[in-house]
Amino acid sequence: MNAISIGGLGKRYASGHVALRDVDLQIRKGEIFALLGPNGAGKTTLINIVCGIVTPSAGHVLANGHDVTREYRTTRSIIGLVPQELATDSFESVWATVNHSRGLFGRPPNPRYVESLLSQLSLADKRNARIMTLSGGMKRRVMIAKALAHEPDILFLDEPTAGVDVELRRDMWALMRRLRDQGVTIILTTHYIEEAEEMADRIGVIDRGTLILVEDKRTLIEKLGKKRLTLQMRAPLPSVPRELADLGLELGADGTELVFSYEASRSIDISALVRRLADLSIEFSDMHTHQSSLEEIFVNLVSKRT
């Protein structure tokens, strides 16, 4: 059984704006799934529907096999959400607000669990502090603690690292890995590609309400990635030698670079290329390869649709 199973999901807001169209998506138990997409693509809408904050216009969503509308008590008990916007109570203490969340989600008090949660999030010494006295980064930690207070099986993080400092980002990545190791399914949205590249097992790309691709991260990079071999010339070449025309080489940097592009999935005989260059007495001083990042793949994908 999948952690999340979405079928034919559509959302049209009262304004008439269609935020999601016919989305089908399966999220496996225990994986980290990154939902990538530009601003306004519909990522938050999707998450909010699963969590019960927004009502869908069409389709269905199951969490651990339970319908999120009809069996909302079950699904909401096992889902935790760290929303995009930083919204906390001001006058409550950290301790009170985290325990409040636990109770709200139907769990009996468990001070030991809450204690360990706070220390894992480096909040232990702030437990009696009023939330309004905390920095933005600390407030975000509190939001995470609240989302985990009821020991959810599935955790949604909506742009968790937007505008957070390096230290917190690293802490959050570590926490996500730790949670995954404990079997928690994690769905995060981001428009930082590095984050998806760093964290995700699988990646979905959403653009203007349509899920345009879901793929294993590695497969995605391999399938769509281009590799580029750049050779640094000893002496600039006036043009690509006619004898090498079959390879589709390009000259760069005023003839001092010879660039060879190929699909990452294709196996290339580099030594043959080097031999042919030697036969033509073309000398090079250096070489390096570059593989396109998810960022490039992503920009490519989205721009192709416009």
Partner: protein
Amino acid sequence: MSGAGSDTATFKPPRFNKHGVWAIYKFEVARATRTLIQSLVTPVITTSLYFIVFGSAIGSRMQSVSGVPYGAFIVPGLMMLTLFTESIANASFGIFYPKFAGTIFELLSAPVSPLEIVMGYVGAAASKSIVLGTVILATSSLFVSIHIMHPAAMIMLLCLTAVTFSLFGFIIGIWAEGWEQIQIIPALIMTPLTFLGGAFYSIDILPPTWRTFSLFNPVVYLISAFRWSFYGTTDVGIGTSLTFTIGLLALCACAVAWIFKTGYRLKS
């Protein structure tokens, strides 16, 4: 950290989320107790002022109303006035604030049913106004001697009114899109209705046209019933009053049910 890692089946939520109701109730009561001093001092001072002005200064010149000394006569009305305004203010603020601050997402994503949400918010708001009502009764008893003829009925009416108007406040809090709207209903509607509703006089002393007019004011029935529980006298029959009060409660309950069914101003 989570139960997910173990092989245990999906957490089975109870049919009634008592921890959830308690969490909301406690949260709301904590909010009230942060301002406990103001909450309690204000009604004590106001009540004392009423007695100094109305009870002593004016009351000494007024005859008793339906056999009840004027000072004692105004006590039920005074309590009702506080019950109305406090219930509406507390319940409307309680649900409006999370909408305003953005923290409502947590409530909407929690496994709590509409009934449980209402129990938490309305329960807390009603509790606070019942406490304040009792404080006013206690303060009043320092100035006049009060005899309660039907104590059980008095307590029941106190609770019924507190719950009804807390429900009403809850509806206002959901409907409101700004702070002005939160304040407008109590100021523009409840205060006039209360003053015109016989809080400080019997509507029998009004000219016939105005008296008839008063019968369209729901507050008349509430105050009348409440005064009956104290002194056994009524402006309108106790049966009519009770029917009216319960009808008002049912009306508010239906409105709340509709709000949750449609997600009105809660969900997009």
